[in-house]
């Protein structure tokens, strides 16, 4: 995904000379072509994320389109006030890119876990929040985000993660149908979509056919899709690698409350806690049933529950 990010951004930068790339001293060898081709448009601000966001704001005021890159937890929580006050308040077209969100850096510990990035970024009025699930989604969404005239946040995984195939077009602000189905509607966001797709493909072999959507754009949330799905489905199952507060489940719960939707809402994901143990992401995913096997079990349980 990281290569898809660097390549797509490079292509965009060839087309639009207003695009600048700022990094908080991260992305080893990732931006070599960008730096070599556009030396004045690549700025390593050092390990100074607050400065990166404030400088990005100043650059945007003068008509540039800065892309500010760091590890997700350092790109969001640490410079939060700079993002809110310098980028959000004036609604400047800065794209913040958080690499390795969720538990991708599980082994690095709590400092590197970004389990609240969606909550933080969604809390900023006018901020578009996008979590692509694979490199195909990333490559399709990045140019759409760069076209925006307002702030946005996007996440990037690492190298060589699996991709999935789905027919539906990838449009900013719209849920993407990954697998058709009935009765249960699954909603995922970010890279956990791979686990969801794998789980659904396995479940299909046992005659279980839940519908699966990838909500790559959490903000603004695709209300239209939620409304029409609520007509067809009894239960929404949200699968997320985020804290319960402020993530996808929380956003859909807010929609449900606001529109008084009778749809039943189930969440599968980690609890409100700092996750200790410095485990690998797949181990953490197993702990909270958001790995393929855990999802197969949880979803078939729900499928077979009376009244659902």
């Amino acid at each position: 995904m990281r290569k898809a990010f660097a390549d797509t951004l490079f292509d965009c930068a060839l087309q639009d000379e207003r695009i600048l790339l700022l990094t908080g001293d991260l992305g080893y060898q990732l931006f070599t072509s960008f730096d070599e081709t556009f030396p004045n448009r690549f700025i390593n601000v050092g390990v100074a994320e607050a400065q990166m966001m404030a400088a990005a704001a100043g650059l945007a005021v003068e008509g540039f389109k800065p892309v500010a890159y760091s590890i997700a937890s350092f790109a969001t929580a640490r410079p939060f006030e700079q993002i809110r006050y310098c980028i959000g308040y004036p609604q400047l077209p800065v794209l913040i890119v958080g690499a390795g969100r969720g538990l991708l850096y599980g082994q690095s510990g709590v400092s590197h876990h970004a389990m609240d990035d969606v909550a933080l970024m969604s809390a900023i009025p006018g901020m578009t929040v996008v979590l692509p699930g694979d490199k195909t989604e990333l490559a399709a969404l990045l140019p759409q985000l760069i076209e925006l005239d307002s702030p946005s946040y996007m996440t990037v995984g690492r190298y060589g993660e699996p991709t999935y195939i789905a027919d539906e077009e990838i449009r900013l602000g719209q849920c993407r149908l990954l697998r058709p189905g009935e009765k249960l509607t699954l909603f995922s966001t970010g890279e956990v979509a791979n686990e969801v797709v794998n789980a659904v493909d396995i479940l299909n072999q046992s005659g279980i056919f839940p519908k699966a959507y990838q909500v790559h754009t959490i903000k603004p949330l695709d209300f239209e899709c939620l409304e029409s799905e609520a007509e067809l489905s009894d239960v929404f199952v949200v699968i997320e690698e985020h804290l319960p507060q402020g993530g996808l489940w929380s956003a859909i719960a807010q929609w449900k409350a606001e529109y008084n939707s009778p749809v039943q809402l189930v969440r599968i994901g980690p609890p409100d806690a700092f996750l200790l143990g410095n485990k690998r992401r797949n181990e953490y995913r197993k702990d909270y049933f958001i790995d393929t096997k855990g999802l197969v079990n949880k979803i078939s349980e729900l499928w077979n529950t009376d009244g659902i």
């Binding site: 004045n40 100074a48 607050a50 404030a54 400088a55 008509g63 310098c86 308040y89």
Partner: protein, 294 residues
């Protein structure tokens, strides 16, 4: 719409002596105006406003390039008033030079006014930047300065910060960025009034010599009396010489200058002036406020 550089208004500068006298009078009137405005709006932050008045008067009368008719002129110098709580001084100066109408000053601090207690660009379009939270202005200024260089613009970025604002780590992150990127089109003025919200700067974090600190970071540093228009003007003049690095002018100021009732600077961070104090201020400064002249 872009205007050519020839249309820019640059205020003619007379000899330093004449300039000093003229601007000193403006400074006293703007001080009286800040006190009147704070009283009328029941606002605070008088101290921080008074201490930066002469810096603002000098900046807007011969230093900054701007176009009164078209403030969005791309060739203008950018000005970030980072110590946003001192907004009354900024508004009074903008009114004095005709960028905003003087009548607007009466709305200071009122609901939905273009002149809130902390400047908001959404409400007052002539501003280059909103402010209120400390420690952001310099970082944003570095981004603007970098952008102006990319655009081969001769415009400069001036950022007015407070000594209290130097408590913020982000100020020093920005200071490093400015030197690393050779932002010689960036000029910072520190209103060194020596006091903060609830204590004196030196007692809180011991920032005995701010100029020295910027100097260690590699900046060109200048120090002057922040109430002497000629000294300020001379300091600004010397920043015209390009040295591949940003400049900082540490302007030493006294918020209570010319006002004997304003000697307790800590008290006057939050205190609103009484009617009697407004009267005293006008007597001691020997002038009326801009608001009264309407």
């Amino acid at each position: 719409m872009r205007k050519s550089a020839a249309n820019l208004m640059t205020v003619e500068i007379a000899s330093p002596a004449v300039l000093n006298m003229d601007l000193n009078q403006k400074g006293r009137q703007i001080r009286a105006t800040c006190i009147q405005m704070a009283h009328d709006a029941k606002e605070s932050h008088v101290k921080g406003a008074l201490s930066c008045v002469d810096i603002l008067v000098t900046l807007f009368n011969g230093v900054l390039k701007y176009d009164v008719e078209n403030f969005a002129n791309a060739h203008r110098d950018r000005f970030i008033f980072s110590k946003g709580h001192a907004a009354s001084a900024l508004y009074a100066t903008l009114a004095d030079v005709g960028i905003i109408p003087k009548t607007l000053l009466k709305s200071y601090g009122q609901s939905n006014s273009p002149l809130p207690s902390h400047p908001c660009k959404h409400m007052l379009k002539v501003l280059d930047w909103s402010s209120g939270s400390l420690g952001h202005g310099l970082g944003v200024g570095t981004g603007m300065a970098y952008a102006l260089k990319l655009n081969h613009s001769s415009s400069r970025v001036f950022v007015l910060i407070s000594d209290g604002e130097c408590n913020e780590g982000s100020t020093w992150e920005a200071a490093q960025f400015a030197i690393a990127n050779k932002l010689d089109n960036l000029i910072v003025i520190v209103d060194n009034n020596g006091s903060q919200s609830i204590g004196y700067t030196e007692d809180i974090l011991g920032q005995a010599n701010i100029a020295e600190k910027f100097g260690v970071f590699g900046w060109t540093t200048l120090e002057c009396d922040g109430h002497s228009n000629s000294e300020l003007f001379e300091a600004f003049q010397s920043t015209n010489i390009k040295q591949d690095r940003p400049s900082v002018i540490v302007a030493h100021t006294d918020p209570g200058k010319g006002l004997d009732f304003l000697s307790d600077h800590i008290l006057w961070h939050y205190r609103t002036p009484s009617s009697h104090e407004v009267l005293l201020a006008k007597q001691q400064l020997d002038c009326n406020s801009l608001v009264e002249e309407l």
